[in-house]
């Protein structure tokens, strides 16, 4: 636990539910161990030497530094999530015969490869029809993309759990909402790729000595935003916050795994998210509270967390 609980407590009373939500994530998290928090606190004290004078902006600056040092690590390094410092949140019993999915924003790799989304989609379609040259184009796109990606942990969900969204006509939006990816589609369209790969591919990659391949998400794994919600320690996985308020009790399982290289066959679909979700203000409060109650019931932990409604 951080030494800055008074700041978090005060921020959790903010009139802005998004700010309160971030503070709550830090307060509720039960998976990031004391050593990780000590590491975070040390960065906070580098930013602001007087612990009583730490502001929310200082906290945000520390978050950025922490991400760059321990989360957005180099492609050949291991982020904290999979190092012994996070051993309490390691996930070591993921079975091989499962399929994982991720929704990826691909604007950057498209620009880097000087390729339009239509062109990539066309090559992907032709590759699926058996055109070997088109498949090479998709593979080359993945090569460029892999070269742009650092070693940050990858959030993933299980295909079998989100199959209906994958098969939805509006699959990109349906998945965005179910996986709680609130930053996709806001302020303009997002080009996205639905990635799908077997857990065996993740587990077959060699990990650095003393580290692991999979872990449970914590607030210190880029969870300082309003669409993340930490799960109680009894919960088997992470649980995504659905962006449709009425469905916020759905608790879709999510895990973290180490970096993998994408291959052409991992691209299941290509699409675009061109509308924003509406989870803000009161609907955000409602959704987070519904999600919290659902977590409390699922884990039989009425003591876990605190409703927002009572505060903001």
């Amino acid at each position: 636990m951080t030494i800055h609980m008074p700041l978090l407590h005060s921020q959790s009373r903010s009139a802005d539910p998004a700010v309160a939500a971030v503070a709550d994530n830090c307060r509720f998290d039960e998976r990031a161990g004391d050593e990780r928090w000590r590491q975070y606190d040390a960065i906070v004290s580098d930013v602001q030497g007087d612990p009583n004078a730490v502001t929310w902006a200082d906290w945000a600056e520390a978050h950025e530094l922490h991400l760059n040092r321990h989360y957005n690590v180099l492609s050949y390094s291991t982020p904290d999530a999979f190092l012994p410092i996070n051993i309490d949140a390691w996930l070591e019993d993921l079975s091989e015969n499962q399929t994982l999915v991720r929704l990826e924003a691909i604007t950057h790799p498209l620009v880097a490869a000087a390729m339009s989304s239509d062109r990539l989609r066309d090559a992907h379609d032709r590759a699926n029809e058996g055109d070997a040259d088109a498949r090479s184009v998709v593979a080359a796109f993945c090569e460029t993309w892999n070269q742009l990606r650092d070693g940050r942990p990858m959030f993933a969900a299980f295909y079998d759990e989100v199959k209906s969204e994958v098969e939805d006509d509006d699959w990109a939006i349906a998945l965005r909402d179910r996986l709680g990816l609130g930053h996709y589609g806001a302020d303009g369209p997002s080009e996205v790729a639905l990635m799908s790969y077997p857990t065996s591919y993740v587990l077959s990659r060699r990990v650095a000595a003393g580290s692991t391949a999979c872990a449970l998400p914590t607030v210190l794994d880029n969870g300082m935003h309003e669409f993340f919600f930490p799960a109680p320690r009894q919960h088997p996985y992470g649980a995504t916050l659905h962006l449709v308020p009425d469905l916020a009790d759905s608790l879709t399982a999510e895990v973290l795994h180490h970096r993998i290289d994408y291959r052409a066959e991992h691209i299941l679909r290509l699409g675009r998210i061109d509308c924003s979700h509406r989870l803000a203000g009161q609907s955000l409060v409602d959704a987070r509270d519904l999600h919290l109650v659902s977590l409390q019931e699922a884990c039989d932990r009425e003591d876990f967390g605190e409703l927002l409604e009572e505060r903001v």
Partner: protein, 663 residues
């Protein structure tokens, strides 16, 4: 989502950008996007005024980061510092900000010099992002040479950026030009990564060509022509492994088709070259000769830009240019045009010592002897066994300072040692030694020359003059008719900087102690400059500890000094694949020729033979030295290591974006 931040940007753009990079802008979903994508979303095309502001602010933020590097690295750590630079450069790509891009393009050499040593990984390589940035919206086809060079880097991410650069090259509606150049690039890359293995090279080529066909779906006949043209150009110009590979990859003629398809754009260079050379012999002072050379060279350059084949352009220019500079009378505007062509030739073939020599001569004709000296110093660094630059540099230094000839003698002795069969340096050294009173060694040198070449008139003349107080400068020294031409480009400033660094280094190193001033080396090494850092490391200066993460020679020098084990050299080669050849050479040298289970001769054939290594300035030096590695004494090995380290410490100047205009 980013509305609040955008409001703060409108109020105080510099502060808003600083807050965004530092994270102080806020927490929450809005800031979950990576910074470049955040800016991409926040500045849609219709925010014209704000985008213009962002263009200026991002550039100024980058320049501030450059100026504050030591302090920023101390505060943030190298990884975060490099990440922020990469984020800014990627943001420029995503938001598409033309002013910053053009500013960086026009001064690319300086940007790359700063950014190249900061590489930590393929995704955190600010120099690579700089290249990617200038691949966008290229104003002309003149960058083709740079992309082809980049494609010959063994790192796949460099190849991919080079390919994008070639794909986006303006083509006057003829995409076949891009395809030709991209295929050419694929072949260069295949050669470099294959280490002489045809199977590896063929697989790499096939994979890339499949992508090319997928990007540009065309008929089989079209691809046959394109691939035939590329491989044929290599077959006729290259030797060794590269030629063998091109022969193997050359598509088989289809039914009813002759082996060769015509190359309609190929210049009739041989005939024009011969005619011009003949006319130069008949009437060397003709006013029209420079203009004819310039016109021919421009046509050849155009051909190179369309096909990737620079053979005619570079060779015609340096062969005839060198002669004409001495013989003909040049107008000022013709000299300016020649300078631009020379710079273009160095873009195409930066490891061509003859073109460098032409540039040095050009500065002499432009009455710019300081720039001539810097160019000769840079040549001496890049080309360890080049005789011409050492002799010319020695002459220039002696003319400048009639008292202190330690350095000229150093250059001449080095030229003699590394060119035992050449005449020029032997005669010059004999001439100098004669003046210095060392008649015995001088006579020995001249007798050696006359033993190999009894008809050498210059050697005879020097022998006659031995004992005179001043050397006979007229025997074979070049003579110029200076036409003052202003040369103030940023590249000349960089030449000067490198020249001054080299001057300090040589003075300190030749003296054998640190009596000479090393202020510039010190100052630049602290800023993280790769070349200065290497010099500092070699000399054992304290500032050498400020090493950036990706400075090959600086690191390799430390390995050399610490007598690193074989595995450490291997590790070094893995971290610096672009300098694998030089690392392998040093490893051999460190092991006294016995490294990697190969003797020097086998190693020379396997690793340093023609056609399997990229066109490195030190390639021939490494090849020749590897042959004799077993017979080298420790002092010679030390000198060879210094030469290869210096040559690889920093690349040739990057002329892209700042080459002289040919308009």
């Amino acid at each position: 989502m980013s509305a609040d931040w955008l409001a703060s940007f409108r109020h105080d753009p510099d502060q808003a950008i600083a807050d965004l990079f530092s994270g102080r802008a806020g927490l929450g979903s809005s800031f979950r996007l990576d910074l470049p994508e955040f800016l991409h979303r926040a500045f849609p095309a219709d925010l014209v005024a704000e985008r213009q502001q962002l263009d200026g602010v991002l550039l100024s933020w980058l320049l501030t980061m450059r100026g504050d590097q030591p302090e920023q690295v101390r505060r943030l750590g190298m990884s975060t510092y490099a990440k922020r630079l990469v984020d800014a450069l990627v943001a420029l790509q995503l938001v598409d900000l033309p002013n910053s891009r053009n500013r960086i393009r026009s001064d690319l050499d300086a940007w790359l010099r700063w950014l190249t040593p900061l590489r930590l990984a393929p995704e955190r390589d600010p120099a690579l992002e700089c290249w990617r940035l200038i691949s966008q919206d290229q104003p002309s086809e003149s960058n083709a040479a740079a992309w082809l060079r980049l494609a010959a880097d063994p790192r796949p991410e460099y190849f991919n950026v080079a390919w994008v650069g070639l794909k986006l090259l303006p083509n006057e509606r003829d995409a076949q030009r891009n395809q030709l150049l991209m295929a050419h690039a694929a072949l260069r890359h295949a050669v470099v990564i294959s280490h002489g293995d045809l199977g590896t090279a063929r697989r790499s080529w096939n994979r890339r060509i499949a992508v090319l066909r997928g990007l540009f779906p065309r008929s089989p006949g079209h691809w046959h022509r394109v691939l035939d043209e590329v491989t044929e150009a290599i077959v006729t110009k290259e030797t060794g492994f590269t030629r063998n590979l091109a022969l193997e990859l050359r598509p088989a003629p289809t039914k009813g088709q002759s082996r060769r398809s015509p190359r309609p754009e190929q210049p009739n260079t041989r005939v024009q070259f011969d005619r011009l050379e003949e006319d130069m012999r008949d009437d060397p002072s003709s006013d029209r000769l420079p203009r004819r050379l310039l016109d021919l060279s421009r046509r050849n350059l155009h051909f190179a830009e369309k096909t990737g084949d620079s053979y005619y352009f570079v060779r015609t220019l340096h062969n005839l240019g060198s002669q004409l500079l001495r013989l003909a009378k040049w107008e000022e505007r013709e000299l300016i045009e020649l300078g631009a062509l020379v710079e273009n030739a160095l873009v195409w073939e930066p490891a061509n010592a003859y073109t460098w020599g032409l540039w040095a001569d050009w500065f002499a004709v432009c009455d710019n002897l300081p720039a001539r000296e810097w160019t000769l110093r840079e040549m001496a660094r890049l080309f360890p066994s080049n005789e011409y630059c050492r002799v010319e540099l020695a002459r220039l230094l002696m003319e400048r300072d009639a008292q202190d000839w330690d350095e000229p003698v150093h250059w001449l002795r080095q030229a003699v040692e590394w060119n035992p069969d050449r005449v020029h340096s032997h005669v010059e050294l004999a001439r100098v030694l004669g003046v210095l009173g060392d008649r015995t060694e001088a006579i020995g040198l001249l007798k050696g020359v006359l033993g190999r070449d009894p008809s050498n008139e210059i050697a005879k003349a020097v022998l006659e003059h031995l004992g005179l107080e001043a050397p006979d400068q007229t025997a074979d020294a070049a003579t110029w008719s200076p036409v003052p031409v202003p040369c103030h480009s940023s590249l000349v400033r960089e030449l000067e900087r490198r020249g001054r660094l080299a001057g300090e280094f040589i003075a300190a190193n030749v003296a054998g102690d640190l009596r000479g001033p090393t202020a510039l080396i010190h100052e630049e090494a602290i800023k993280g400059d790769s070349l200065a850092g290497f010099y500092a490391q070699w000399l054992g200066l304290e500032c050498a500890s400020q090493r950036p993460p990706h400075a090959w020679a600086w690191t390799a020098c430390q390995h050399w000094q610490e007598r690193s084990a074989d595995e450490e050299w291997e590790q070094l080669a893995a971290v610096y694949p672009e300098a694998a050849t030089e690392t392998r050479f040093l490893r051999l040298l460190a092991a006294n020729g016995g490294g990697g289970g190969l003797d020097g001769h086998s190693a020379s054939r396997r690793f340093f033979s023609n056609g399997t290594v990229p066109a490195l300035p030190a390639a021939s030096f490494m090849r020749d030295s590897a042959e004799q590695i077993e017979t080298m004494d420790s002092e010679q090995r030390e000198e060879a290591a210094l030469a290869v380290l210096a040559s690889g410490a920093v690349g040739s100047l990057e002329f892209v974006g700042s080459v002289g205009s040919l308009a």
